[in-house]
């Protein structure tokens, strides 16, 4: 089975009397030549890594540039001390998405799903639902196989990298995967699952990738929040019986087309959008200032390169700030 069309996987599942996730699992077994246990075990590693990343988050770390860090902690505190507008569950989802995106920016261990920049979306909806609905580990793995199958179809028909298709391909794909997983966990039908995927992706169509200074920090960390919350809304709509007018495979194709036609400035090059705002440029200039100064040292003997205690090479110079 090639994971290249949602409708093909669905009809194969119906024909064989299996669930969508089982078809994905069996495809993995065949592709990698591994046993059912091996495949389940590898997915369990991903699930455990997501949970561990959430548990070890403290909010104390800052990213290399200093732009990101502590937002997840602020949201966790707000969720436990105040009355969040969107209710407790959504507040937890927001906090989880921020924590995970931040952990990624701060060089902690995460699961790229489908990319490192979008690593917060799936755990942000899955972890709170796991606790709220008292779900089993087995169900979580099945949901992750469901999400992986959806992601594989998107990767085949469109793309999942910001450089190829903009943020819609990263956060949009993650959101679609999460929406499908949520419908599965709430025992929706597979048709509803497809509608949820279609609606989640449709609602983020056209989102550009415009990272400030080219770093996976601004706006990436907070975009994980919209990916997660969007997944909840799409899943709830689908479970309510609301359908996507455009079938899921066609929506995925449309995302690919929009991605290909996005100007290069909006595909991770940091040349457009937020990266090209006066503030975005100033951030970049500050970050890269140090690099230029280092080159100067060679020509100007008054400039000195010194090794700090942490082993990093630091520049000291007359009047340097």
């Amino acid at each position: 089975m090639n994971l290249d069309s949602m409708s093909d996987i669905l009809s194969a599942a119906r024909q064989e009397g299996k669930a969508f996730w089982e078809i994905v699992l069996e495809t993995d077994m065949k592709n990698r030549g591994v046993s059912r246990m091996d495949s389940l075990h590898k997915m369990a590693e991903a699930w455990h890594a997501m949970r561990e990343a959430s548990q070890v988050y403290t909010g104390e770390r800052r990213s290399v540039s200093g732009l990101v860090g502590g937002q997840g902690k602020l949201m966790r505190d707000y969720a436990s001390e105040k009355t969040p507008i969107g209710g407790d569950f959504v507040a937890q989802v927001i906090a989880e998405a921020l924590s995970m995106g931040e952990s990624n920016a701060c060089m902690r261990r995460i699961v790229a799903a489908p990319t490192a920049g979008a690593c917060g979306v799936l755990p942000a909806v899955l972890i709170p639902l796991y606790w709220q609905d008292n779900l089993t580990e087995e169900q979580m793995l099945e949901a992750l196989f469901t999400a992986s199958g959806i992601g594989a179809v998107i990767a085949y028909r469109a793309c999942i990298s910001g450089a190829a298709g903009g943020c819609q391909a990263e956060i949009g794909s993650a959101s679609a995967m999460a929406a499908g997983a949520l419908v599965y966990l709430r025992k929706g039908t597979e048709t509803q699952m497809c509608h949820a995927v279609a609606m989640a992706l449709k609602n983020l169509l056209g989102l550009v990738c415009d990272p400030v200074a080219g770093l996976v920090e601004v706006p990436c960390v907070k975009r994980n929040v919209i990916g997660a919350v969007n997944a909840i809304t799409a899943a709830d709509m689908a479970l309510a019986g609301i359908e996507s007018c455009i079938p899921v495979d066609e929506v995925i194709d449309a995302m690919g087309e929009v991605g290909r036609r996005l100007p290069v400035e909006f595909r991770e090059t940091a040349l457009g959008g937020l990266a090209a705002t006066p503030t975005g440029k100033a951030v970049k200039k500050n970050l890269h200032g140090g690099r230029k100064k280092r080159t100067l040292t060679i020509k100007d003997a008054r400039w000195k390169l010194e090794k700090s205690e942490s082993g990093e090479v630091v520049l000291s110079a007359p009047g340097a700030t």
């Binding site: 090639n2 994971l3 994905v24 495809t27 993995d28 592709n31 990698r32 590898k42 997915m43 590693e45 991903a46 890594a49 990213s63 290399v64 540039s65 952990s103 990624n104 920016a105 701060c106 060089m107 902690r108 261990r109 995460i110 699961v111 790229a112 799903a113 489908p114 990319t115 490192a116 920049g117 690593c119 992750l144 196989f145 999400a147 992986s148 199958g149 992601g151 594989a152 990767a155 085949y156 999942i160 990298s161 450089a163 995967m177 200074a213 080219g214 770093l215 996976v216 920090e217 940091a270 970050l287 890269h288 690099r291 942490s310 082993g311 990093e312």
Partner: protein, 221 residues
Amino acid sequence: MIDIFDIMGPIMVGPSSSHTAGAVRIGRMARTLLGDTPVKAAIHLHGSFATTGVGHGTDKALVAGLLGMPPDDLDIPLSFDIAAEKGLKFTFDEIDLRDAHPNSVRMELTGENSRRLSIQACSTGGGRILVTRLDGIHVSFTGDYHTLIIENMDNRGNLADVTTALALAGVNVANMSMNRSSKGGNAMMIIETDDPVPDYIVQLIERQPGILQVIHYRRES
């Protein structure tokens, strides 16, 4: 065919699969290909690795890989300190490699047993890598397969010796290439296989006339 664990994964230290996880894998691959514990590394960053590398931890990731760390090792951010402890000296600078992938790096390595290697590789996305040059010779392999890297003299019959040895061991070749620096100079055979090559076959190939060095890279699952 898409591996679903490229979608749900890799499990990695952030922030970027191409600039961090891929960079760790390049360092790790370089360490394997050196066949020695690196003690000196001159690291030249090209393109996006040079411009956004520091913000993405590409520098720390490459050094972590040279120290043998996997892409999900939480010590990656501390790799400079660990390198100092373990006696790995490294330097970084920028380089303009013509016609290279934007996420490329070239490294000159020296090992504790004085082995030397010049390697150029790029990070192609999602943590995947491509080695493009070894000791100045064009190559192309990803580490997605078990790989034999064979340096040999540009002689008649070397390739036949190698493939015969593999056939004897029942090893199926998935992809292969051979490039040479110049006619009569050194050549590099890259053979990607579905099954790992048994050690005795690696040793057998090493003993063939005209074969200078054999390195066997075992795929990481």
